[in-house]
């Protein structure tokens, strides 16, 4: 868990640099609430405290990175509380949650406070839509800006693709996560987007693909959320299937859905499929004969 925290440092620092004190306060509030909620809940339920495993800190940080910087602090705290108490602790704590707590909380906030959650304030004096919103309405985006994270709107942690990739590289080198899920996710997503554009009459539209890959929460989701041990399959084939499902869902939501972003919903939907995916991909135990009957 410490590794994940370290890996999130570049994205966090960039978010604070980009959005200023507001973002720092929001991040601190989310992490503090998450830890406090976990400690209090376990105290109240007379369970052993697991605050020391840092998982609550990770949840709080991931949630904060998924929020727009202008969100009122109490809403962020409410989200954190929801993530820890409802999604994680009520289902039995770390290792038992059926979907990613941070993402579930983000969706909770997104449904509850739609206006606030999609209000990304003004960037450099101009009221900003996220690059994805601009793409959706047929606008032109600067891909280099999207890659670096400068001059574009978005949530605190998602703006800079390069900062996220640095963290992801650290996780991959330390072997905390395997490349299977992110690769299958991004790969299937890219193929789907290319095919969609091809049939839309744009030919092989690499610029559109690059914008979609760097835009929104895709990188953050693919490397930090979809790879969550608890809510992703453990089998190797399962990981690939899981990634492909996420890629197709995300592309569908983004291209054909009502809102510009679809990573969160795709991942929590994918989380729900994990038990089924594991059931089909569980390898046959050595010495067992015949086909597995589920």
């Amino acid at each position: 868990m410490l590794d994940v925290l370290l890996a999130l440092v570049p994205a966090t620092l960039f978010g604070i640099y980009r959005f200023g004190m507001e973002a720092a306060v929001l991040i601190a509030a989310c992490m503090a609430t998450a830890v406090l909620a976990e400690w209090l809940f376990q105290k109240a339920m007379k369970k052993k405290s697991t605050v020391g495993d840092l998982s609550a800190l990770v949840t709080g940080l991931l949630l904060a990175l998924n929020l727009p910087s202008g969100l009122p602090v109490w809403m962020a705290c409410l989200g954190s509380l929801f993530a820890i108490v409802v999604v994680k602790q009520l289902f039995g704590g770390l290792g038992q949650n059926f979907m990613n707590p941070a993402l579930a909380a983000r969706c909770f906030l997104l449904i509850s406070f739609t206006g606030r959650m999609t209000d990304f304030g003004t960037v450099d004096g101009v009221s900003s839509a996220t690059p994805l919103m601009q793409l959706k309405s047929g606008g032109i985006v600067n891909i280099w800006d999207m890659f670096l994270g400068t001059g574009i709107g978005g949530t605190i942690g998602e703006v800079s693709a390069v900062a996220i990739l640095m963290g992801a590289a650290y996780l991959l080198i330390r072997k905390v996560i395997s490349i299977r899920i992110p690769a299958a996710y991004l790969g299937s997503f890219a193929i789907f987007i290319l095919i969609y554009r091809l049939f839309g009459g744009y030919g092989l539209d690499w610029a559109f693909l690059a914008a979609h890959l760097c835009g929104g929460g895709l990188m953050l989701g693919a490397f930090f959320m979809a790879t969550d041990y608890v809510t992703s399959p453990i089998t190797k084939t399962g990981k690939l299937i899981f990634g492909i499902v996420l890629g197709i869902l995300t592309a569908l939501f983004r291209l054909l859905g009502g809102s510009a972003e679809g990573v969160s919903y795709a991942i929590i939907l994918g989380n729900l499929l994990v038990p089924l995916i594991e059931k089909v991909t569980l390898p046959r135990a050595f010495g067992k004969e015949g086909r597995i009957r589920g």
């Binding site: 009122p72 449904i111 406070f113 739609t114 606030r116």
Partner: protein, 230 residues
């Protein structure tokens, strides 16, 4: 407590259809976006339930066992149609809000459940009182869910705004997921405070259940009874 009062107490508290028996979940989750809707749905169901229990109890010796469910449905459906027309005539606002869920009362599990497990075995007066108790229990359940959802989800109580503007209502609570959150939360509270109910173990066999109620479908209660029989 005489057995007439006991029926009403049983319906509202011990075998509360919403929090203990978990019956009639469809209207419970769907229409409780505000307290008024909850009361409306609850009372409409109560009206149907009292009449259906009474009529079914009157006919209980005439209805052949094999076709009892169709027979019950015919009785309930006629009553629901009457209530629906009355609502449409006199309370058009409520009729509009509840919409599809009024005709759906026909297949409400509480009504069929009480017909099957109580009205078909007891006299008309007791059955009608059982309907009153169950109906009021349902109303209480729906109303309390409605109050919580209305307060959290739109910042109002009975249509009056109570939360200050600074606090934005958490609109997920008036949507479908909120219904599940609130129902689960209130049921957990009811269990936590060990409200006297047919399923809370502490109450045990004192619950006035003779092993025939719907909640006795669950094994725990049956075992209790079996032990009692020995």
């Amino acid at each position: 407590m005489n057995r007439y009062v006991e029926r009403i107490y049983n319906g509202i508290v011990k075998e509360n259809p919403t929090f203990v028996l978990m019956l009639g979940m469809c209207p419970t989750l769907a229409v409780t976006t505000s307290a008024v809707n909850g009361v409306g749905m609850g009372l409409t169901t109560t009206a149907v339930l009292v009449c259906s229990n009474f009529v079914i109890s009157l006919f209980r010796k005439v209805i052949p066992d094999r076709v009892r469910i169709p027979a019950y449905i015919v009785i309930v459906a006629s009553l629901v149609t009457m209530v629906q027309l009355l609502l449409q005539g006199y309370l058009p606002d409520l009729y509009e809000t509840l919409g599809l869920y009024i005709p759906l009362i026909v297949v409400n599990c509480i009504i069929l459940g009480r017909a099957e497990s109580y009205a078909s075995k007891h006299g008309p007066i007791l059955s009608a009182l059982d309907g009153v108790g169950m109906g009021l229990g349902f109303t209480v359940g729906l109303t309390s869910i409605g109050i919580v959802r209305e307060l959290l989800g739109s910042g109002k109580i009975l249509g009056m705004t109570v939360l200050p503007d600074a606090v934005e209502p958490i609109s997920i609570f008036v949507l479908a997921p909120g219904a599940f959150f609130v129902l689960a939360g209130l049921t957990a509270l009811q269990n936590h405070f060990k409200a006297p109910s047919a399923t809370n173990k502490a109450e045990g066999k004192k619950s006035g259940c003779s092993g025939q109620c719907i909640s006795c479908q669950n094994a725990l209660c049956r075992e209790d009874k079996r032990e009692g029989d020995k």
